[in-house]
Structure formats: structure tokens, C-alpha cells
Symmetry: C2
């Protein structure tokens, strides 16, 4: 086992934009690996500011989630509030803004739980996950097309949350289980 | 709390392709929500066949991971073997193929651990996560540009894996903690 090996990165021989929409730019990257192999990959560029997710604890055993329309799957999905970091914002500021926009609470108590990425073969999309405690009612106007449904869930009943067919987003699942691990919640057998 | 609410989906007023590359197509979707609000979203279409991830257990306490170049982040990332389901394949067949291509093992014992999705606001990308046990050496030729580094990690030392700066992919983190939860591995304090 080698946990610290620094591998030689492939050389980027060429990089060009091959597609662009309002939100997305696709780049084609020509690579030469250290063994001489050559490959052409595509990567997707986003906002580049990073994103945040908030795990709000209304009390020690009550999670707050939202149910939101998702265009990619054309259905409503249950998950933790999240959003992009705006220019000039620190991640925790963005987290507190998203919490007020999507859930109608601000928080006094913030803990950085973890940083995750998503499909790094294609994206450079970092997301900072925060635990929010000591909540207080506070609403900020967001850009949501409709009010989001806020759902309370007992943390001790996390297994039933994992079993919900609309709670499947990998980052929300990771956040839930990282929280459980962080708080050392016993298994719900 | 309403766990089963069936919300009225927005109406898709129009949908058109606005960008395309070799691998990716971006669609613009014009939506009208049930409250009358109108929005224009973009979604990204992939292969549509779905994807698989494998959590291979060499023995009861030994995970197998791979360290692979990721073009999106231009670095090497540690994670579980994964890949797209090929046309005509069942997800478990794809999982057994990817395990042989990326790690050099096949498996006799398969358990479906969970299904996750990724950023459903933008993608319709389902991934089935499997546990693979009863491994046997078997190599299939894949399309990797270089041999992948295979890394063994003790499951009982999962907290040190979570602390690795190159183990950050949300689906690998979810898979690790879902496995721990499934096997009821005690917290490593």
C-alpha cells in the first residue's frame, strides 16, 4: 500500500473549447501520459466558484431537508439545501445565505464537515459541506420558481431516509453519513 | 412532515439542444411551474445507460481502491472502480467487467448496496453501487491509458481513508459509508 505516491501527471498537449451553452462550456483536452499513451478527454467547466451544502440541525435529532424540482431527472428530489458560491462570498457565507433562501433559517453555529467533489474525471466541482446548528428564523429571497417544501427528519431514523426513493443524491447521502459518523450516532438496528 | 407527497410536476413548454460535443449534449428546457412561474433550465445528457461502482472486499477488512488520472481536476484521485454500463449489459455484469478491467479481479459474491444519482438538477445519471466479495484474479483489457494503481485499505481504518486529500469523490465517500453502515462496522475512535 502506498498512500502518498506522487504520480507523474500526463502532459496537456492541447486544450480547446468544443461546445458552449449559457451555463456550460465543454473543453477537449489532448493528453500524453508518462508511458507515452495519448488520449483525448472532454471536461465540463462550470462557474468555478465552488458550491456548498448545509446539513441543518433544528435540534440534536432533527434534520431539515428540502424537496425541490430537478430538471435533470424531471422529478422532485429530497436533499440538503445547497447552491453555488457567489463571487466575493466565503463558502460559509454562501451556506448561511442558501439556508435562509431555501429553508427560511439562519444559523449561529457552523462546523465544516467535509469537502467533496463530483465526477472528477469530467468536472472540477468542489463542494464544502457544513453542519448548521443554533438556527433562527430568517428568510432571504432566492431565485426559486416556487417555495421549497421543507421536510423534517429524525437523525436517529436515518435508515428510513436512506430508503426514500427520492433521497438518492450522492452528496446528500455522503453528507448524512458523514454527519452520523461525526456525531457518532449509533446504528439504527 | 410529509414523506410521500406527490407534487405536481412543472410543464415542459419547450426543450431544445443548445450545445453538443463528442460526449455531451446540453438541452435547454423551458418550464412552467404549477404556480405559474416560468424558468429556463439547462440539463446535460450523457450516455443514458447508467453507471456502476464496485466496492471490492479482498477479505472482511480489506478494501480495494484505484488511483486514476482525472481530467476534470487534472490530478490523480483515489476511489472505487466504476464505469458506464455498456449497451446490452446488466448493471452487475458491468460491475464485474469494470472490476476485471480496473483492478484485475472478478468476483463470485455480489450484493447490490444502493443506487445513487449525481446533481439531478442537471443530470439524469443513475449509478448502482455493488459490494463484490469472493474475489479471484482475472484481468480484462480496458481502455485505460495506463495501468491503474490498485490500493488496499483496511475497512476498520476508514477514517484515515476519509482524511486522504485525494479521496473526495462524493459517490466513493457515500459507497464507503453505506458499506460501513451495511456491515455495521463499529466507529473507529
Amino acid at each position: 500500500m502506498d498512500k502518498s505516491k506522487h504520480k507523474q501527471l500526463p502532459e496537456i498537449v492541447a486544450c480547446k473549447e468544443v461546445a458552449r451553452s449559457r451555463l456550460v462550456a465543454v473543453e477537449q483536452v489532448d493528453l500524453k501520459f508518462s508511458n507515452g499513451a495519448e488520449r483525448c478527454f472532454e471536461k465540463i467547466k462550470g462557474s468555478g466558484q465552488g458550491a456548498v451544502m448545509v446539513v441543518p440541525l433544528l435540534d440534536a435529532d432533527t434534520l431539515l431537508l428540502i424537496r425541490e424540482y430537478c430538471a435533470g431527472t424531471h422529478n422532485y428530489q429530497l436533499g440538503f439545501p445547497k447552491g453555488l458560491v457567489d463571487p466575493g462570498e466565503q463558502p460559509q457565507q454562501a451556506a448561511n445565505r442558501e439556508l435562509q433562501e431555501e429553508v427560511g433559517f439562519g444559523a449561529h453555529g457552523w462546523t465544516h464537515l467535509h469537502q467533496v467533489c463530483m465526477a472528477p474525471a469530467f468536472f472540477n466541482a468542489k463542494m464544502d459541506i457544513f453542519i448548521a446548528k443554533d438556527l433562527f428564523a430568517s428568510v432571504l429571497e432566492g431565485d426559486e420558481p416556487e417555495p421549497l417544501e421543507v421536510v423534517q427528519w429524525p437523525l436517529s431514523d436515518y435508515k428510513s431516509l436512506l430508503a426514500q426513493t427520492d433521497f438518492t443524491e450522492a452528496r446528500s447521502i455522503a453528507a448524512l453519513l458523514l454527519l452520523k459518523d461525526f456525531l457518532e450516532v449509533p446504528d439504527d438496528k
